[in-house]
Amino acid sequence: MSMINHDTDPSAIRYGNASEFGAKVARVQAAGNDGVRMPEGLENKRPDRAWSTRRSGRQDNQLKRFPFVGFLSVAVLAFLYVPMMIVVFFSFNGGKQALLWQGFSLRWYGSVFTNGAIVNATETSLIVAVIATVLSTALGVMYVLAVDHMSRAGSALASMLINASMLIPEIVLGVATMAFIRLIGLAPGFVPLVLAHTTFCIPFVVMPIRARLATIDHACFEAAEDLGASGATTVMRVTLPLLVPGIVSGALMAFVVSMDDFMISNFLTTAGTTTLPIYIFSLIRKGVNPSVNVVAALLLLLAVIVTVTSTLLTNRKDK
């Protein structure tokens, strides 16, 4: 937005003649998530000092003026990360007590994978998360592509409905879903669990896909149609491939949200369908067991992997 181009009139580039069109499509495909499209020569240009009226260098100048901001920020980051490091540290605890450090050992890592209850709960969680991820991703993609065709009021109502599950306090959604399931004559169990997970995963899928769609120039689709592709072919061969980073990132988020959910699952699970968070919660309440540390450290690892992958996907400048 702050980038000004003095040499070329941007509108001439946007709606230029047909010979530039192919190059433009290619460039749009390569555009990142910033949504700002620049003429060819300026794409790799960074704002330099000449564009600013500032006399001295950017960062030094500002940080000098807010000296305590940097210190506080580092303290906040430490506040966020020290507890996690302590969890990882305690997962290597050799003692029989979860909360008391008694020397380094990997014994609890070994025991977690042979602990029937933990393995079962992990399996349930994984199955629910995978099904919910697939369903919510498919529904989310369909929704994002179809919402464009609705009237203004219709799409506002629809997105309110889709996002409502993020706004409603989880405890309320949990008990309400349970009451609803009972009312329509179902028993809590696997199917309601999967459907409820799918519902609250959809907004997390929709967000990155919408963001990605906003960065794609719709001229690509028009070009495809002009070249004779049918509506379905355009969606399959142009829209979906261009959306892939958003879709993968949304699917990853859905997977984590489903794996993490405690409140809503808590009211929908039965003895056979205990998910991992519910099992850990009950373990912690019963009196902590060292294997909790290991499961916690592994879940932490999952969050790190998913977040890093998702960030790399969204920020990637695919050339």
Partner: protein, 333 residues
């Protein structure tokens, strides 16, 4: 996913472009216009029928349950066990404020109001501290180079995606009597303190959980901020507090508003932190609701409590979005 159906559906509207007008003249039967809309599907997009599954599942598993819980709050409880009897009654709401003794006399009862008070206090304290901690780091992040900003956003997002139980459990490890904090206190000769299972622990857990919720919107409000404005303000003779208040804070305000909403709403209905970190000492509305649907089994009362916090939440969200809108108009965004 998209096999034969999109073909047939889009084919009816697809000869788009030149043929748009035919639709508007109403040559087609009314029902096709409703389903396939007056304006053609844009190339590369789908017909709105494709959104039906998402909307349906939203209706079934979001709006449906909320409707049911509000309806349940106006019904009576059965003589024994859980569930409801379909007979209109406002007993559940009366129970929030009044108590009946054996003789049927009604007297004011502040027990449940106290629970709401605890929730409100814990949520407000959490929100205030989160916003106060989030502002400097959001400002700091937004002043870094693009590459560093990406890494910092990643660092703030990782805790956000970490399992809630794990994040809460981390504080059990830290605050318990043999934990690092007490170890340090003993080393300093202050003796070990009861830190876990206090309302202090519960607030710490809530702050830890919701801090990223405050940082991210504030950062996104500030990340597009043109810091040359700060420079300009200084050049025009403004002092540091004035610049902070009238330039930076004003730009950050929409983010502050959504940060407040994103912290307060889930904190008010929290369940896990008060149970694990507050032990039996902190009773919040979330815990009260859960117990009404489990042990005590007074579903209408639980439903009434849910309805009340739902109303509080929606009002809070509405206020935040109105104030956020005002703030962003002021910020000139």
């Amino acid at each position: 996913m998209s096999g034969a159906t999109p073909n047939s559906k889009t084919a009816t509207t697809q000869p788009a472009g030149e043929h748009d007008k035919r639709d508007e003249h109403g040559e087609r039967p009314a029902w096709t216009r409703w389903f396939a809309s007056a304006h053609p599907v844009k190339p590369g997009m789908l017909n709105r029928l494709w959104s039906v599954p998402s909307i349906l599942i939203g209706l079934l598993f979001t709006l449906g349950p909320i409707g049911v819980i509000v309806a349940f709050s106006f019904m009576s409880r059965p003589d024994m066990g859980g569930g409801v009897v379909f007979r209109f009654s406002t007993d559940a709401y009366e129970k929030l404020l009044f108590r009946h003794d054996y003789f049927g006399n009604r007297s004011f009862d502040a027990r449940y109001l106290a629970v709401f008070g605890t929730s409100l206090w814990q949520a407000l304290l959490t929100t205030a501290i989160c916003v106060a901690l989030a502002f400097p780091i959001a400002l700091w992040m937004s002043m870094k180079s693009a590459k560093v900003q990406q890494i910092l956003v990643l660092l703030v997002t990782i805790p956000f995606w970490t399992n809630l139980i794990v994040r809460t459990y981390a504080w059990m490890l830290i605050l318990n009597e043999n934990g690092p904090v007490n170890w340090l206190l003993r080393l300093l000769g202050m003796g070990s303190q009861q830190l876990l299972y206090t309302s202090f622990a519960s607030v710490i857990g809530l702050i830890y959980t919701f801090l990223p919720f405050a940082i991210l919107p504030m950062y996104s409000a500030l990340s597009g901020f043109d810091f040359r404005l700060v420079e300009a303000a200084y050049d025009l003779g403004a002092h540091k507090p004035t610049v902070m208040r009238r330039v930076i804070l004003r730009a950050a305000m929409p983010g502050v508003m959504s940060g407040i909403a994103l912290c307060f709403i889930p904190a008010f209905g929290s369940y896990v932190q008060p149970v694990l970190l507050g032990g039996g000492r902190v009773l919040m509305v979330g815990n009260l609701i859960a117990s009404q649907f489990a042990e005590a089994r007074n579903w209408p009362f639980g439903a009434a409590l849910s309805t009340v916090i739902l109303a509080v939440t929606l009002l809070g969200a509405l206020a935040a979005s109105i104030m956020g809108g005002m703030a962003s108009r002021k910020a000139g965004a």
